[in-house]
């Protein structure tokens, strides 16, 4: 570790590592990633790692589609010799209310405009996609065959190792304890291993982002919210796609390894950095999922855990350069879908930092939107 870097990235999750990689690819190689534990130890390593393109806003649909293209070749793209575990088994979105079904149909139009190969599934064809599903109460369904799931650890390591190969440095078990701001400009970070100077500091700390930004005098509406997941024993292949219901707040999917992984949102979950799992969640998710997939009653849960969503008011990412500290950029607030849009987000941010053109307008993600009211409305989140 040197005393000074061009860019310091705080947070060794998928966002921090992918940004490091894209920056290095664009020639900004004097980069240090600082991670408080090990890479992926935060939200990335705890997430469901679904990759969904079936979004309801043009922006999210584009981010997701273009990210999916990166995931499809991530090993080659980063030069990684491991397996990122991408499994494109599709996402089956099921609507339990008329209103939801109407929304799905609107979403399809947006998806088609962007070029996503999603389609509506007639009720009598749902079982062809997921044979074990209980179709009672389902009003409609959509499917996108190229949606899927990847291994969050290997994806992050692919970026991290690719970045390291180009000269990026990564330090783990090192905590950022302070930010150095002078004359309205970021100057560096204080860490448990000493002070480091930097021209640009990127805050990719997920649920901790608001706290971190405060150290630079930047107030951001990002809140950590606990979300929980459970996983079953591996069993032989029983289901291809991810099944997801916004109405019932759950998603469930079988990994290539054979385990069935599922998660559930709780509308009453308080804002907190708590990452303890609860028995209430365990029972509730089991109940909800077995209502839709009764045959899963025999599956046995081997593990449950919790992580954070980094929530924003409109449940979309905030990419923001602090007014109080020029050069201090927060990339957070992904509200539960950071993993699946990370590749394209990293490209967007890196293009911005290296002065390159981008087809997307990064300013749309600025925190200014909450003042102007130009929110990034997304109807389809769990």
């Amino acid at each position: 570790m040197k005393k000074s870097y061009d860019v310091v990235i705080i947070g060794g999750g998928i966002i921090g590592c992918s940004v490091a990689f894209e920056l290095a690819k664009r020639g900004r190689k004097d980069v240090l990633v600082v991670e408080q534990e090990y890479l992926t130890s935060g939200a990335t390593g705890r997430c469901g790692a679904g990759i969904r393109q079936q979004w309801g806003s043009m922006l999210n649909a584009t981010l997701a589609l273009e990210s999916t293209h990166v995931f499809e070749n991530l090993e080659e793209y980063t030069g990684y010799d491991g397996d990122c575990g991408l499994n494109q088994g599709g996402y089956l979105l099921i609507a339990y209310t008329e209103k939801e079904w109407e929304q799905f149909q609107k979403n399809l139009e947006i998806q088609h405009q962007v070029g996503i190969n999603s389609h509506a599934v007639p009720l009598d064809c749902i079982k062809e996609i997921v044979p074990h599903i209980n179709t009672d109460g389902i009003q409609g369904a959509c499917f996108c065959a190229s949606d899927g799931h990847a291994d969050p650890f290997h994806c992050t390591y692919a970026y991290a190792k690719g970045a390291q190969g180009m000269g990026v440095e990564i330090v783990t078990y090192t905590k950022v304890t302070g930010l150095k701001v002078e004359n309205g400009r970021i100057r560096g970070v204080a860490t448990t291993r000493g002070d480091i100077e930097a021209k640009v500091v990127i805050n990719a700390t997920g649920g901790h982002a608001a706290q971190m930004a405060m150290l630079a005098g930047d107030e951001l509406p990002i809140f950590p919210e606990r979300h929980q997941i459970l996983i079953t024993e591996p069993v032989a292949h029983i289901m291809n796609p991810m099944v997801m219901s916004f109405h019932r707040h759950f998603y469930v999917q079988q990994t290539p390894h054979g385990s069935v992984i599922m998660g559930m949102g709780d509308p009453n979950e308080p804002v907190s950095l708590n990452t303890k799992a609860s028995w209430q969640y365990l029972e509730h998710n089991a109940w909800v999922v077995t209502q839709t997939l009764p045959a899963f009653r025999n599956l046995r849960v081997v593990r449950q855990w919790a992580g954070h969503y980094d929530m924003s008011p409109d449940r979309n990412p905030i990419i923001n350069e602090a007014k109080s500290a020029e050069g201090f950029i927060t990339i957070a607030g992904f509200s539960g879908h950071g993993f699946m849009v990370a590749p394209r987000t990293a490209i967007l941010v890196s293009n911005y930092l290296t002065g390159q053109q981008d087809s997307l307008d990064i300013s749309r993600f600025s925190v200014e939107r909450y003042k102007t009211g130009e929110l990034l409305l997304e109807p389809s989140v769990v």
């Binding site: 074990h132 024993e233 591996p234 069993v235 032989a236 029983i238 054979g258 025999n298 046995r300």
Partner: protein, 102 residues
């Protein structure tokens, strides 16, 4: 090989029962675990490991590890070291990951 005479213990085994191992009928006693009954019948390979398909047998005998996973009456991943044998039970070698009956 059951122990018939022991200097300290006496085994009250109850009535003899039969169960099936890979379809083959095997004698057992209801006081025995499936693993013990199979050992008594000379069967020590209980299955094959999930990825590398290595032969696996009993290891801990107290339900701690996963070495003795077998398919019992169609249900995979059963720890036969702590599961009592029952008359007519169908026990099969588990080769690789279990196939859950749904």
């Amino acid at each position: 090989m059951r122990i018939d005479e022991h200097p300290v213990l006496s085994f009250e085994r109850g009535e003899k029962i039969n169960f099936f191992y890979n379809g083959q009928e095997i004698e057992a006693y209801p006081t025995e675990t499936i693993a013990a009954a199979l050992h008594a019948a000379g069967v020590r390979k209980l299955g094959e490991s999930p990825e590398l398909h290595r032969p696996r047998g009993l290891f801990c005998a107290i339900g701690n590890c996963s070495s003795c996973f077998m398919i019992v009456d169609g249900e995979p991943n059963m720890r036969v070291c702590v599961m009592k044998v029952r008359s007519g039970m169908r026990v099969e070698e588990q080769r690789g990951k279990g196939v859950v009956g749904i």
